[in-house]
Amino acid sequence: MTDLPDKTDRKLGLVIDLDTCVGCHACVISCKGWNTENYGVPLSDQDPYGGTPSGTFLNRVHSFEVQPDQGAAQTVHFPKSCLHCDDAPCVTVCPTGASYKRAEDGIVLVNEDACIGCGLCAWACPYGARELDRAAGVMKKCTLCVDRIYNENLPQEDRLPACVRTCPAGARHFGDLGDPDSAVSQLVADRGGMDLMPELGTRPVNKYLPPRPKDTGGEIDILAPLLAPVAEEPKGFLGWLDKTLERL
């Protein structure tokens, strides 16, 4: 089995804002595009124009409905990819050492040359974040765009995961979650960022910002004076208008 590093120098990861994600799937397809062309084998599609199309994706958006005790049901869009856990069960389960966590930045990767496609890691991942590519027979997962974030062929501003660069609503943030002063750590602190299923002890690096309370309305009592009628009758209204206009 494969060892995890005792600690990593940095904890690079994503902060995903569930209050802002509109569920547009931009991140899904941008990821598919970049990672089909880069890092390892392409993300293949089977029966792409047929009756049962299916393909390899490293990032997917799920939508859920939440029914509060009171008030209208709510819709939550939930993008999900590898969370680059500190205690990554997908790494420790790997029989060949193909799955590993980088000591320098904490990114969890698959060395495709060493991967035998046994699928144990996908079974071990409680988040369902790994997908076996059916064409190549190797395990694929989010690389945090390791071939973008350090890429000297890209301008500095583009050294971001493809999903973060493309997100139209700005719901995805990238940075060092091991540094409490980083922008992403600050965002997590300000907005009550959460681990996904912390009870599993995987200690994910990625964080989710929860949706803000919805449909709370305003306090009608506070705002009511704003709607005090100026007059009970339309004619009275025009009289009021005359007076108001004089002051203009």
């Binding site: 509109v22 569920g23 547009c24 595009g33 047929g50 071939d147 709370t216 305003g218 009021w240």
Partner: protein
């Protein structure tokens, strides 16, 4: 065991990046197309581009799968089997153009109106309309009539612009944003970016939509309104704000027609028209003198209260009539709450929140400006509430008046063209008077007498023949729908088949899937396209179609002109058309062939240049009869609509001797200037677009701001300054009412008098457009998913894995009432037909509404999909339930299922009945497969180009 292989962290990204404009939807974002070995390797957003600033949606990134799609047409096709069979033979371009010329030349020579030329999701309307105008047919329009003409027309008539390409919320300053109806398929990335800005600073977002998906899912408050009642809800907000005096009186007096004097004598022939001076200018009472004065006179202080008696006729300000109308108890929250499905307390609270933000949280920017009356202002006051709406409120038969009501709410709050409110994007603001009126005079062998589409100012501008019958095949600009500014594409096939108002010879369509998802009554339209007369000839004799893909419509054409994909062509996103401007800048853009086609296809616009020359159309030939334009790229550079004004505003050459032109730091002219042979190269060097920023002092209050007006003239947007008042009261509508009441020479037919009188109310009214038979108690809607657009999304190998099928979503109430469970199917019946489709539960949905994704359903054999594709077996269209005509009323007349003001297709007025059904083997109705002219796609994909 630890294994950390050495990684190449800096792989070469691509050989070359070519920057062009996306066409995966109508948003027109800038894209960086990465090429490896001459092939498209990756597409990302262009950070410098004014629309998307680097971001890109799912559709945009999936463009790579559109460019390699197996459904791409490969060569011109000539039909060899019966229409609808899909049996074609490939022919040469020379033969295709000869056939087209032979078909069209006699029409032009004898009666150009025998050609109906309609384009769909066309982004070259200023060009295609120019072609049609030179051909001489009055029968031209694009798809606006079945999309959002209500929004566009209501906005132009009310305030000289509407949402999306006309304007945008002031995302950087707004504090409360209300979003009405389906809006996820237009202005896609800018709205997401704007919502992101609001979310980042905690501004409130309110969604008003029966369906809580997409943007409504992130809204801080969701109002699950009953479809078609948005106007009533808005009028209740107006009622509350008026009652409380929470309106911007200064703004109304200065910038709107609220103070304009109306003839108030019901017996007068000018009843309801403006009092005007000898120069025709509307009059207001000047508070300084107490006497009438032209609205725009220097120093005039318009009075909202003063009345005036002249010649025994009393006149009162528009504002009086407006206040009286909406203070009526009919619009009180308690009176409308049940119909809207929104509690009265909630309506009152939203009104109070709007008032609170607009007036208690007003903002000022320290920007000096001078208004059109010459008054100088030391700062700009802003009302930081903003709104957006699109098809959701538009696609109802009450849509025009509902859209008008929304604009009136914005204007009463003083929140248009002010900081924090709604801002126009050049070439808007532009009042209706600055647009053309419709032209329809077809003459043998001559061009049309002017532009087809425009804004009528009264009955005299209707497109009627001398005998009073409709001049256009779609009956646009007639008494049935006088203000049909975008035409009625959805009526063309039905009217052509019926020979009503006349028969045509050739139907020429571009990029419009009229044999499937773009038509109401799909089955009926298919039958009309294939119907034959007693001689066995097709009732619609000739059909020519241009598309890039093997859509359902292809099978119904006699001649198919294969278009390129968007990465293989020239286009211009022009200021003459629907540009990419932002509120702070004028901007336009191009597409250019970043890759060459690997098939025998040609850009449709280049084909029109060729065909125009073959037909010897003026505008397309030189004096010696030779072709004027080698291709569309040549046209883009060298065409001049009027001297100095061409399709593109950037990098023109300085006009000789005039000194006119915008700023330029490199010896080029901006806006006005001569054609520059290097113009396209300059665009390509700049990333495919051009931006000219608006000076700060011109950034808000644009309709009344001298600095903006002068800048717009310099840019060539106007020829002279065009300051104007917002039209709370639309006088041209009153002119139609007067005609219906018997005044004037041009009179409506008697059977339409009451309808014109009722529909053309000059202050917005609400009518129950979805009222129907109690047998059909449930509202049924469609939306387009953000990850897909129009027809061509679900042939895309990546996107169809996100939305490969479309269940009918039911709210909990109906789900439980009918005892549905997962995997069930429902029979859905409307007065027009029935479908049997799969269902799914959605709790966050109006209690009495069902809906599905639009245009996922496909016909077997189309789009190079396998016949077992879920789009063709479980997917479906609601279109089968919607007829282009209303059910017969027993009067023997054909009544369109359209807005009576504009003719907008009333898609969202649909009501249905739901029942549980035995699961069929596939969605019903099922259609026979059509033969695919392009075969089927491959069984697997692993798209990696280069090394």
């Amino acid at each position: 065991m630890t294994s950390a292989p050495k990684l190449n962290l800096s792989p070469k990204v691509s050989d070359e990046v070519r920057k062009t404009t996306c066409y995966m939807c109508a948003c027109r974002c800038g894209i960086n197309v990465h090429l490896k070995d001459g092939k498209v390797a990756y597409i990302e957003g262009n950070r410098d581009h004014p629309i998307n600033k680097g971001v890109l949606c799912a559709k945009g990134s999936a463009g790579i799968m559109q460019v390699n799609a197996p459904s791409r047409l490969r060569a011109p096709l000539k039909r060899v089997g019966p229409r609808g069979s899909g049996q074609f033979e490939e022919i040469s371009w020379d033969e295709a153009l000869q056939i087209a010329t032979k078909t069209l030349a006699p029409l032009r020579k004898n009666d150009p109106s025998k050609l109906a030329f309609f384009t769909g999701r066309d982004q070259s309307q200023s060009f295609t309309s120019f072609w049609a105008q030179n051909f001489g047919t009055p029968n031209y329009a694009a798809h606006g009539g079945f999309c959002s003409v209500n929004m566009a027309a209501a906005g132009i008539y009310t305030m000289g612009g509407a949402f999306w390409e006309f304007g945008q919320p002031d995302w950087d300053h707004t504090k409360m944003f209300m979003l009405f109806g389906v809006a996820e398929d237009h202005d896609s990335n800018p709205i997401k970016m704007g919502l992101g800005k609001l979310k980042a600073r905690g501004a409130k977002v309110v969604g008003v939509n029966p369906i809580r998906s997409g943007y409504n899912a992130v809204a801080d408050e969701w109002l699950g309104i009953t479809p078609g009642t948005d106007g009533l809800f808005i009028m209740a907000l107006i009622h509350e704000l008026l009652k409380a005096g929470k309106i911007d009186l200064h703004y109304l007096a200065q910038y709107t027609n609220a103070p304009v004097l109306l003839n108030s004598d019901p017996a007068a022939p000018d009843y309801g028209l403006f009092l005007r001076d000898d120069a025709g200018k509307p009059l207001v009472i000047d508070r300084t003198t107490g006497k009438p004065a032209a609205f725009d006179r220097k120093g005039v202080k318009p009075d909202l209260a003063g009345t005036w008696r002249k010649g025994g006729i009393s006149h009162r300000p528009v504002f009086h009539q407006l206040a009286e109308t909406y203070l009526s108890p009919d619009y009180a929250p308690d009176a409308v709450a049940d119909r809207c499905g929104i509690p009265a307390d909630t309506i009152r609270r939203i009104a109070a929140e709007l008032a609170h933000v607009a007036f208690e949280q007003a903002i000022t920017l320290p920007i000096k400006w001078t208004d059109f009356r010459g008054e100088e202002h030391s700062e700009m006051t802003g009302r930081p509430v903003s709104f957006h709406a699109m098809r959701g409120i538009s696609a109802h038969a009450n849509g025009f008046q509902t859209c008008r009501a929304l604009h009136i709410l914005q204007i009463l709050l003083g929140s248009v063209e002010v900081p924090g409110g709604f801002r126009f994007k050049p070439p808007y603001p532009k009042p209706p008077e600055a647009h053309p009126t419709p032209h329809c005079h077809a003459r043998p062998d001559l061009p049309l007498d002017g532009p087809h589409l425009g804004f009528v100012q009264g009955p005299d501008d209707l497109a009627l023949r001398d005998d009073g019958t409709p001049a256009r095949i779609d009956k646009a600009f007639t008494w049935e729908n006088p203000m049909s500014a975008h035409g009625l594409m959805h009526m063309v096939i039905s009217n052509a088949h019926a020979g009503d108002p006349y028969k045509i010879d050739t139907l020429f369509l571009y990029m419009a899937n009229m044999a499937w998802n773009s038509s109401m009554n799909t089955r009926g339209v298919i039958d009309m396209l294939t119907d034959t007369d007693a001689n066995g000839d097709y009732v619609i004799p000739n059909i020519i179609y241009s598309d890039a893909y093997s859509s359902e419509m292809v099978a119904y054409a006699d001649l198919v002109l294969p278009d390129t994909t968007y990465l293989e062509r020239h286009d211009c996103i022009s200021l003459l058309d629907r540009p990419i401007c932002e509120a702070d800048a004028a901007a336009d853009a191009i597409r250019w062939p970043v890759i060459e086609p690997d098939r025998d296809v040609r850009g449709f616009q280049s084909v029109l240049c060729d065909l125009g020359a073959r037909l010897e159309l003026p505008g397309f030939i030189n004096d010696d009869g030779s072709a004027k334009y080698a291709d569309y790229g040549d046209y883009i550079v060298n065409h001049q609509r009027k001297p100095g004004i061409g399709p593109l505003a950037g990098w023109r050459l300085p006009p000789e001797g005039s000194g006119v032109g915008g700023t330029s730091d490199d010896g080029h002219a901006v806006g006005r200037g001569s054609p520059n042979p290097e113009q396209l190269d300059k665009y390509i060097e700049n990333g495919g677009f051009f931006v000219e920023h608006i000076p700060a002092e011109a950034s808000y209050y644009k309709p009344w701001n001298r600095a903006y007006q002068d800048w717009a003239v310099g840019m060539g947007l106007y020829d002279t300054p065009q300051p104007y008042l917002f039209q709370l009261y639309v006088e041209p509508m009153r002119k139609f009412q007067l005609a219906a009441e018997g005044h004037g020479d041009r009179q409506p037919p008697d059977h339409l008098r009451d309808r014109v009188r009722a529909a053309m109310e000059p202050l917005p009214i609400w009518t129950d457009s979805t009222a129907g038979d109690a047998d059909y108690p449930v509202h049924a809607l469609t939306q387009r998913p953000m990850a897909m657009y129009h027809s061509w999304g679900s042939q895309n190998a990546w996107l169809r894995q996100i939305h490969g099928q479309n269940p009918l979503y039911l709210p909990s109430k109906l789900w439980n009432q009918h005892g549905f469970a997962d995997g069930d199917w429902a029979r859905v019946t409307s007065p027009h037909g029935a479908i049997v489709v799969p269902v799914a539960l959605q709790a966050a949905l109006n209690d009495n509404t069902v809906w599905t994704w639009n245009a996922i359903g496909k016909r077997k054999g189309a789009w190079a999909l396998d016949e077992t594709a879920p789009e063709a077996t479980r997917g479906f269209l609601l279109n089968h339930l919607i007829h282009e005509l209303l059910p017969p009323k027993g009067d023997g007349l054909r009544w369109a299922n359209s807005d009576p003001v504009t003719g907008q297709a009333a898609w969202f007025d649909l009501r249905v009945r739901i029942e549980k059904a035995d699961p069929p083997d596939q969605s019903q109705p099922a259609f026979d497969p059509i033969a695919s002219p392009v075969g089927q796609g491959p069984g697997s994909l692993a798209w990696k180009v280069g090394k």
